[in-house]
């Protein structure tokens, strides 16, 4: 069995190097390792002393996992985590490959893993998380899972596997009473995070939780929160932590959703660490975190700042639009087949924009139609991404100092590459 593990690790690593050189396929090495040694993931994870914390939900998984890992590290624990987006079994196995010894041992006290909600049930069986943090259920998953109810049922199964801690967003229609809809487990501590009504209600589109029909139990916001966002100014939030501590934290960017992510991460650290939890280390950890890749990120191109808003799904786009301080002076939009059905743009409030300079990608004309009915002028539509990008960059320097690009994930990757930003993490110009 050890020989088999070693083979899996070696072959997986070799493939990983090869995949890196070809520039892609980060899940492939994990896939191959799992094929050679199917129990590799389960066995390696089971040996981690403080066990697994699983983070799932529609939106903010990467951000929150990153925050939680930083908070736990600030408390002196060695953390194994999966890189942003590597949240399927193969992705987690790939991440393990880069950190295990040839015998398959991992030098970590605790694993903090972002888990794709679609694979949540399978991953939960495999990973046996002691603690589960669920962030939200939003309608973005329509094309993959078709119905919020189905996503809710999948997340309920993940929640039910937690043995020590379950941390839920009390502002989410589906999560506010999820604990009452899963089988009880003796010893499982349930706690909540949220925001004060003065912040959550006027957020316009609230926290953009999917509508829930039928057996509506508790009202969103009605459960007492272990960690509550009580104030928010720009990218700084104040968190009230039970029983009686207030801390100020830095967020990756403006926006209530980031503040809620921070509250979720703090509530989870509090649940996991118990007596060892020190609120001031939350501030310290979040202060030190770099801007999360691809969200509110600023690229510098030829001395100009370009703010990137990632259009992952309706909820994230709405929250990001709402967090704009004023209508951007120069805006560019690129959306392609990575967003197969942009129907939901009809549910989006685009009033944060007063014009759009250029639109590209295969969905460009569908956006142009929407903007046409909204009387939002569109400068030009060009399906040739390079040409459209060139025309946008050639616009005179904006007085506000920065341009804004609203991109879906695929276009963000492509455009970063065109602009010469090669590395996924970090974001330095080549």
């Amino acid at each position: 069995m050890t020989a088999r593990t070693t083979a899996a690790v070696l072959v997986g690593r070799a493939v990983r190097v090869a995949a890196r050189l070809r520039g892609g396929g980060s899940a492939i090495p994990g896939n191959i390792a799992l094929r050679i040694d199917p129990d590799f993931l389960e066995r390696t994870i089971a040996a981690i002393p403080d066990g697994v914390v699983a983070v799932s939900g529609s939106n903010g998984k990467s951000t929150t996992t990153n925050m939680l890992a930083a908070i736990i590290r600030a408390h002196g624990l060695k953390v194994f985590t999966n890189p942003s987006g590597g949240n399927l079994p193969q992705g987690i196995a790939s991440a393990l490959l880069s950190e295990v010894s040839l015998g398959g041992r991992l030098d970590a006290d605790i694993a903090i893993l972002e888990v794709d909600e679609g694979y949540g049930t399978r991953l939960a069986e495999l990973l046996k998380p002691k603690t589960v943090l669920l962030l939200n259920i939003q309608i973005d998953q329509l094309n993959r899972y078709h119905e919020p109810d189905r996503v809710a049922a999948m997340l309920a199964r993940v929640a039910a596997t937690s043995t020590e801690g379950l941390i839920l967003n009390r502002e989410d229609n589906f999560l506010v009473d999820l604990d009452t809809r899963i089988p009880a487990y003796s010893g499982r501590a349930v706690s909540f995070f949220g925001g004060v009504p003065e912040l959550v209600e006027p957020a316009g589109h609230g926290v953009a939780s999917a509508d829930r029909f039928g057996d509506v139990g508790a009202k969103p916001g009605s459960r007492p929160a272990a960690v509550e966002v009580v104030a928010l100014t720009g990218n700084r939030a104040t968190l009230a932590i039970e029983p009686d501590t207030r801390i100020e934290v830095k967020l990756p960017s403006r926006g209530l959703h980031y503040a809620l992510d921070a509250a979720g991460a703090a509530a989870t650290a509090r649940s996991v660490l118990g007596d060892r939890f020190r609120p001031e280390l939350v501030s310290q950890a979040l202060d030190s975190l770099a801007t999360v890749y691809g969200r509110g990120e600023l690229l510098v191109v030829d001395g100009e700042q370009i703010e990137i808003i990632m259009m992952k799904n309706p909820a994230s786009l709405q929250l990001n639009l709402d967090s704009l301080e004023s209508a951007p002076e120069q805006v560019f939009l690129a959306v392609d087949e990575g967003t197969p059905d942009p129907s939901w743009i009809w549910d989006i409030d685009f009033s944060a924009l007063d014009h759009v300079d250029g639109i590209t990608g295969s969905k460009a004309w569908q956006f142009a139609t929407r903007f046409g009915y909204l009387d939002i002028p569109v400068g030009s539509v060009d399906l040739d991404v390079r040409a459209a990008l060139k025309a946008f960059l050639a616009l005179p320097k904006p007085a506000t100092g920065h341009k804004v690009m609203i991109l879906n994930y695929e276009q963000m990757m492509g455009i970063r590459k065109i602009l010469g930003f090669k590395e996924l993490e970090g974001g330095g110009a080549a």
Partner: protein, 259 residues
């Protein structure tokens, strides 16, 4: 949910009844109502939108007979089950509106509930409101992807298909022949139902965005029945959006994709 309408505007206004916007409208479908309203208003004919979500909206319920055009959207099965008794409760009035020639646009679950029966995956059969002479059966593989039709009445129709059900429309007229996608039956053939004033389809989302000719056809049926005129039938602002819609149709039809 009711769109802002000036108070005294209702006399000469076109009235759109939007059924169950909260329950049935998962895919940006309220966009259809917005498009109908804007296409009429930009031509100088004001629109009043009446939103009905259930018995609590008694004031709107009392005005069903004012409706010149009716829209009902799609939703997940969970919402369809909740909407079912609510639809049944108003089925008689809806049948009367349909028989009186008021145009209906019904999408997905809304289309199914306005049909004769809906057979669920469990085998349970829901009685529909029987406006449309069609029967729905849930089950089979779900199709998700671009959807391209050819309509004998208005030419190419383009949009998105996301369904896990089949519709038997018998010998009746349809929205169009399937060029890309699945349509009503197991083997691609025809899509939806379109006869006289009744249009039902599983082209979900804001199908009128890509297909303004459909919107105009519904509006014409509605306003001509009332003798209402446009003051500016072809405003420049609609020419621009119609050009964008034409480009959208061309882009999708040139390279349609499915999951």
């Amino acid at each position: 949910m009711t769109a802002a309408t000036p108070k005294g505007a209702s006399r000469g206004a076109l009235r759109i009844l939007h059924l169950f916007p909260r329950l049935l409208g998962l895919n940006g479908e309220s966009g259809n109502v917005e498009i109908l309203r804007l296409r009429s208003e930009r031509r100088g004919l004001p629109v009043e939108v009446l939103s009905y979500d259930g018995p609590d909206d008694a004031a709107v319920r009392a005005r069903f007979d004012d409706a010149d055009l009716v829209f009902i959207g799609s939703g997940p099965v969970s919402a369809e089950l909740i909407a079912h008794p609510l639809v049944t409760a108003v089925a008689g009035d809806l049948r009367a509106l349909a028989a009186d020639g008021r145009p209906f646009l019904a999408v997905g679950a809304g289309f199914q509930l306005l049909g004769q029966t809906v057979t669920l995956e469990s085998g349970e059969v829901l009685e529909g409101a029987s406006l449309f002479p069609v029967a729905t059966r849930h089950g089979g593989t779900r199709v998700v992807g671009d959807f391209v039709l050819d309509s004998p009445r208005i030419g190419p129709i383009v949009g998105f298909e996301n369904r896990g059900s089949f519709v038997d429309v018998g010998p009746h007229g349809t929205l169009g022949r399937v060029v890309y996608g699945r349509g009503n039956s197991e083997t691609p053939g025809e899509e939806g139902f379109w006869e006289d004033n009744l249009l039902g389809t599983h082209m979900h989302g804001p199908l009128l965005a890509n297909n303004p000719a459909l919107a105009d056809s519904l509006l014409d049926t509605a306003r001509l029945r009332r003798g209402l005129e446009y003051t500016d039938p072809a405003p420049e602002s609609l020419r621009l959006v119609d050009e964008s819609a034409r480009q959208s149709r061309a882009t999708i039809a040139a390279a349609p994709l499915s999951e």
